[in-house]
Symmetry: C2
Subunit: 382 residues, 2 copies
C-alpha cells in the first residue's frame, strides 16, 4: 500500500484487496475471448451463492447502482401500476423519483429521520390498494438505518402475496444477511463499490423466477433500451453457458475484479462474514457512544452493520473534523440527507477492512476518531 | 507486458498504455476527495479539446457507449418527433431500435452492406418531413464503413438547419477527425474502450450549446432516470468547478484512467494522431489487398482508419483463421453484421498500437495475418 494512501472509510467506495486491484489492471482482453468468457460465466454463478438463491437471474451491467432502479421501473412495472416505497432516507426519495419518471404511481411510507416504517404502518399501507411491488432500502446510506427485509417480506406474503418484494441492497449486500429464496425476495439490486469490495462501475441485480415471469408476461413495451432485460438476458444466459455474445461491450476489467472479490468472499462462510460485520459495527458504535455521540438511527437495533451515521457533538462542524482525520490518513464522509446533511458524519466499515482485522483499518479509524473527537471536546472513555 | 499476453487487435477494447492500467488500479479513493475532484474536473475540460469545441457540455457516466443512445433518445427527442437514421450497419439498426423504444418516429436511409447513404439520398430524405435530428454512425464497427460527417452536417445546414446532427462516434473518436464546433455537430457520443484507449465502462457524450438549449426547452418529461441529463448536468458542472456532488457514485478508477489517457492524447497534435491512424490503416489495408482479399466497405475512400473489415478468402471460415492467430498471440474479431457475420473478420488498429510504433503491434499483426492467410491459400506479395 502506498504510504501516502488515506484509508477510505466511507460507506463506499471501500478499501479494495490488492488482488482485486490487480484484476482491475488486467491487460487488454477481448470481451469474447476464452480468457474472459468463463470468468463472466462464473461471476453469474457466484452471485447466486452470495444472494442465497438457486435459480434467480443475475444481471451484471456497466453502470452505477442507480441503474438498478431503472431496471426495476422499466422492466417490471407497467404504467399506472402502484408501487409502495418504504422510505428511510435519501435513497427512498430517489427510488420514488425514478419510478415516477417511468409513469409508476408511487405511495410512500415515510419514516421520521433515523426511524423506519413500523410493520403496522406497512401492513396498513398494503391493505389500501393492490401494489405491484414494494421497495425497501435495506440500508439507507444517508441515515444508516437498517430495514428488516425478512419481516417485511413475511408480512407481504400474508397480506398481499402477489406484490413483488424489491430490495435496494446497494449499501447492504455483502455486509448484511440476505437470503433471497428463503425470505421470498424478488429483486435485490446493488453496486460493486460497497461490501462486494470492487471499484465503482458495476450495477448488479438479481431477479427471482417469479420476477422474471412477471417480466416475460408484461403487456406493454419495456420503457428503456440500455436498462432492458430483453437486451441483457440473452447476454447473461450466453456467458453463463460459456459462450460470448454481444449487446454492449461489458466492462471486462471490472468483471475480472468482481470475480476476484466474489471468489474471496465465497471462500469463507457467509455467516462468519456477517458476524464479523456485526462485531466491528458494535465496536465502532460503542466507541462513539462512549464519546457521548448520538447516532442518526434512533436506536442500535435498527442501525446498519456496514456503516455508522452519527451526529457531530454540539457546536462541531464537518470542517472541524473531516479534514483533520484526512490529514491523519483516514477519510470518512459527511452527511447526505437533505434535512440534516451538515449535522452528521458517516463511517463505512465493510469488506476487507472488517474481514481482515490484521490490516488494522478499524483500529486506526477508531483511534483517529477518538483522538480528534476528544480534541473537539468529547468526553473520554477512561 | 505479460509474456503470455495476446495482443488485443479487435475494434475495441484496444491495447491499453501501462500508465492507463496503473490508473485503473488506483487505491480506494472517495468520489468527493480532493485527490479525485480535480481529476474529474480536468477530464471534462480535456474532452472539449478532444472534440475541438469551446463550449459544448461533456457527460462522463458509468455505462457502455450504448447508454449514449438512451441519453439522446430520452433527453433530446420528444415522443412522436421524427428522427432520420443513416444506416451503415448493425449499429444503425440498434440506434433506431433504441429511439423507437422511447416513442420516436424513425425514418432510415439504409445503405447496402459495405456502402453508405449518398449525399443525394440524404438530401432527398431531409426534404420529406421536418426531422428533429439526424443520426450518423461515424464508423459502423460491424462494417468498417466511415461516414463523411462534415459533408452531411454541411448538407443539413443547407436543407434543414434546425435538425440536430448526432454522431455515434463509438468507433471513431480518437481515430477519426471530429471538429464539433467547426462542423456544426450537436452531439458526439462514444465509449472509453476504443481509440480513447481506456478499459470499457465509460459512456462519454458531448452536447453542443444548441443541443443543451433543446434539452432545457423540452416540453414533455425526460423519459429516463439514469440517463437523464437533469440528474447528470449538475454533477458535471460541479466537478468542473472543482466541487464534489452526488447523484450516483462515479467510476473513480475508470475516470482516473481516462484522465491519464486524455493527457497522453492531448500532449501531441491531434492532426498527427489522425494522420498516423490513416497511415497505419493504409499499411494494413495494402497488405490485405496484396493477399487478394476484398474489404467489406465497397471502396477504400469510405473505409474507417481505426479498423478494417475484410472478407475471408473463398472457402475459409472464422475457425480456420482466428484460433491460429490467437495461438500466435494476436487476437482479432469475427464478423458482427447480421447478414454477412460468418463471412468476414475485423482488425482494430487504434490508440497506442498506432501512435507508438515501437511497440510493433501493427508489424506483428500484419506478419501474423500474412503468414496464416498465405497458409490458407492466399497469394503472396513477393
Amino acid at each position: 500500500m502506498n504510504s501516502k494512501h488515506k484509508l477510505c472509510m466511507i460507506p463506499g467506495p471501500v478499501e479494495f484487496h490488492e488482488d482485486v486491484l490487480t484484476s482491475m489492471s488486467t491487460l487488454a482482453t477481448s470481451h469474447v475471448s476464452p480468457s474472459f468468457i468463463p470468468i463472466f460465466g462464473e461471476v453469474i454463478e457466484l452471485l447466486r451463492k452470495i444472494f442465497c438463491t438457486e435459480k434467480s437471474q443475475p444481471f451484471v451491467v456497466s453502470g452505477s447502482g442507480t441503474l438498478g432502479w431503472d431496471m426495476v421501473a422499466s422492466n417490471l412495472i407497467e404504467s399506472d401500476e402502484d408501487v409502495l416505497v418504504l422510505n428511510t432516507g435519501y435513497f427512498g426519495d430517489s427510488f420514488a423519483d425514478c419510478l415516477q419518471t417511468y409513469g409508476v404511481k408511487v405511495t410512500q411510507v415515510k419514516a421520521d429521520i433515523g426511524d423506519r416504517p413500523s410493520l403496522e404502518e406497512i401492513r396498513q399501507a398494503l391493505t389500501t390498494k393492490k401494489f405491484k411491488a414494494i421497495t425497501i432500502t435495506h440500508v439507507d446510506t444517508s441515515t444508516g438505518v437498517l430495514s428488516d427485509i425478512k419481516a417485511i417480506s413475511t408480512l407481504v406474503q400474508q397480506i398481499s402475496p402477489e406484490t413483488l418484494v424489491i430490495v435496494d441492497g446497494v449499501c447492504s449486500v455483502g455486509s448484511e444477511e440476505i437470503r433471497m429464496d428463503e425470505w421470498n425476495i424478488d429483486i435485490v439490486l446493488t453496486a460493486s463499490q460497497k461490501a462486494l469490495g470492487v471499484p465503482p462501475g458495476l450495477c448488479i441485480l438479481i431477479a427471482s423466477e417469479r420476477a422474471m415471469n412477471v417480466f416475460h408476461n408484461r403487456e406493454t413495451p419495456i420503457k428503456s433500451y440500455y436498462a432492458s432485460w430483453r437486451n441483457w438476458l440473452p447476454i447473461m444466459n450466453s456467458y453463463e453457458s460459456r459462450k460470448g455474445m454481444y449487446f454492449a461491450t461489458p466492462p471486462v476489467q471490472l468483471i475480472f475484479a468482481l470475480h476476484t472479490s466474489l471468489k474471496q468472499i465465497i471462500s469463507r462462510p457467509l455467516e462468519l462474514r456477517f458476524q464479523q460485520h456485526k462485531e466491528v459495527s458494535n465496536r465502532i458504535k460503542n466507541s462513539l457512544e462512549e464519546l457521548g455521540l448520538k447516532f442518526v438511527p434512533k436506536n442500535r437495533e435498527i442501525a446498519a452493520n456496514g456503516m455508522t451515521a452519527v451526529y457531530y457533538p454540539e457546536g462541531v462542524k464537518a470542517t472541524d473534523l473531516l479534514p483533520k482525520l484526512a490529514e491523519q490518513g483516514v477519510v470518512i464522509a459527511g452527511g447526505l440527507h437533505k434535512v440534516i446533511g451538515p449535522k452528521y458524519f458517516r463511517v463505512g466499515h465493510m469488506g476487507i477492512s472488517v474481514t481482515e482485522p490484521e490490516r488494522k483499518h478499524i483500529d486506526n479509524t477508531i483511534e483517529a476518531l477518538k483522538g480528534n473527537l476528544k480534541d473537539l471536546g468529547c468526553k473520554g472513555d477512561n
